[in-house]
């Protein structure tokens, strides 16, 4: 039973990261109807930035905040330079754009910081949390930061005017323009926020997976699985999906014979396929109530 609790809690901790990645993917998907394959690489690059800042002597939290700001601006810049011109282009052109972005960021990171694996610090430490063997302080920190982030986002989208405008622009762009919302900038803002959210995921997971240019590959696939499971049209679903995928991954690795660590990733992919077959809209996919 302790093993089970332990695995569930560890699953919630990594699930928090998947939830952040899924949320980042869904935010961009809502805005431009495309999956951002480079979301993981963007997060990886941000994490390197924070690492570099710490190498230069900044404290963890100073590096954290500066990285958030950098990621926000970088996300907006990527949208303005690369994807705004592609807004009316066919799907495949956009896919090519995302793959190019993926390759460019991955190689640049390798060029700047090389491909050796680096230690990444945790501000929470890795001792047992509150003396319990079930969960480490870093895992507790991952969950805590994610929960704060999610509450902040909920507040932002529900109770601020700019959040309202962003939701409006994503749901009915034409009507949004007719009430005076600059939908183009709302999309850019969405990119900035998604990139910042991704950078948080990167910085929180880096102490676990270690820092290197390919660190986010597996994480992004879990993030996609979470987004598909929850429903690509639902930010709430993406978050729930993230936690579910995290728990499921850990339990499958522990209890299904032969899965172990090696086969965890195929499980995420199997999950994506099963969800697409059985419930394409995902658990919380668009359920717009309409009067007939």
């Amino acid at each position: 039973m302790e093993l089970f609790t332990n695995q569930v809690l560890a699953g919630i901790a990594t699930g928090a990261i998947y939830a952040c990645m899924a949320l980042a993917v869904v935010m961009i998907y809502q805005a431009i109807d495309h999956l951002n394959f480079a979301q993981g690489e963007m997060a990886m690059f941000s994490t390197f930035i924070s690492w570099q800042l710490m190498q230069w002597g900044l404290s963890y939290w100073a590096a954290f905040i500066i990285t958030l700001a950098f990621s926000f601006v970088a996300g907006i810049a990527i949208e303005r330079i690369l994807f705004k011109p592609l807004a009316k282009a066919p799907v495949l052109t956009n896919v090519a754009g995302f793959i190019a972005l993926f390759a460019i960021i991955n190689s640049s990171a390798g060029l700047i910081w090389d491909f050796t694996i680096k230690q990444y610090p945790t501000p929470f430490g890795s001792s047992p949390f509150l003396g319990s063997q079930l969960i480490s302080t870093h895992q507790a920190g991952m969950i805590g930061v994610t929960v704060l982030l999610l509450l902040g986002l909920y507040f932002f989208f529900q109770y601020t005017r700019i959040g309202l405008a962003m939701r409006a622009a994503a749901s009915v762009p034409e009507s949004a323009r007719l009430v005076g919302i600059n939908t183009s900038w709302m999309i850019a803002l969405g990119w900035g926020m998604a990139t910042a959210i991704g950078s948080i995921a990167g910085m929180l997971i880096a102490p676990v997976v270690f820092l290197e240019p390919n660190m986010m590959g597996g994480v992004l696939i879990y993030g996609f699985a979470a987004a598909v499971l929850g429903g690509l049209s639902s930010p709430f679903g993406a978050v729930v999906g993230g936690f579910l995928v995290g728990i499921f991954e850990n339990l499958a690795g522990t209890y299904i014979p032969g899965v172990g660590n090696e086969l965890k990733l195929p499980i995420a992919l199997a999950l994506i396929i099963s969800v697409l077959v059985v419930k394409p809209a995902g658990l919380f996919g668009r359920h717009i109530v309409k009067r007939v």
Partner: protein
């Protein structure tokens, strides 16, 4: 009387297809003007061209200032509220959020709060449903919401695209009564596009008739309504 909206030689295109062929008309401050015409005559295109939602050439002046080449969202800031065909409801959001969106360009939060209350007084049904998803409202209620959302801008000019579409006759009467009241009491100029010519002519003071992208008739609404020949050949009643 001053001219609020002046449209000159307006031509609009959907890709290669030309939908408006040099259309000119004007609207006086405080008036309620209607654009009439059959399906496909270019009524909706005219409204869309005013808000730069379709490629067009020609002159569009609002209060003496040219609107051409301005983005749709910046035209709103002149005080032009457009209720599009199909009402443009934010269906996944609540009724109250829809009203707040109507005022999203305004900065006076106290004024917005009091205007929402004013809309609830105009349209009591919206108050009953203010926390409900807008998509669950009936057609008539959604049209009320669309008009209320447009009024939240405190517009100088309201563009309405077929407000009667899909509504029961009694509901249409109600709605047009409210539009007349808004025009008189709140001093909002209104340009309404309608297929229901009879009703629109009862409400409006000025009327224009469009056929295949051109104005073919204009004048006082009462005169047009009383002219049997025009009614029979252009308005079908």
């Amino acid at each position: 009387m001053t001219t609020l909206l002046n449209v000159k030689d307006l031509r609009a295109y959907y890709g290669q297809v030309q939908a408006l062929h040099g259309l000119s008309f004007s609207l006086n401050e405080g008036s309620l003007t209607t654009l009439l015409g059959a399906n496909g005559a270019g009524k909706t295109t005219t409204l869309r061209a005013i808000c730069n939602m379709v490629r067009s050439t020609g002159g569009i002046e609002f209060d003496g200032k040219p609107l051409n080449n301005r983005s749709t969202e910046s035209i709103v800031r002149f005080g032009i509220a457009h209720v599009p065909q199909g009402r443009g409801t934010f269906t996944t959001m609540t009724v109250e959020e829809n009203l707040q969106l109507g005022a999203i360009t305004r900065k006076d939060s106290a004024g917005i709060v009091s205007d929402i209350e004013r809309m609830y007084a105009h349209f009591p049904v919206l108050k009953q449903r203010h926390t409900q998803q807008a998509g669950t409202l009936s057609g008539g209620e959604q049209q009320m919401l669309a008009v209320a959302r447009a009024l939240m801008l405190r517009p100088r000019l309201m563009l309405l695209d077929e407000p009667s579409f899909g509504l029961a006759p009694l509901v249409v009467r109600d709605l047009f009564g409210i539009l007349g009241k808004i025009n008189r009491e709140d001093k909002v100029s209104i340009l309404v596009v309608e297929q229901n010519a009879q009703l629109a002519l009862e409400l409006a003071d000025q009327a224009y008739v469009i056929e295949t992208g051109r104005i073919v008739m204009s004048g006082n609404a009462k005169d047009i309504a009383n002219n049997e020949e025009i009614r029979k050949s252009y308005l079908g009643y």
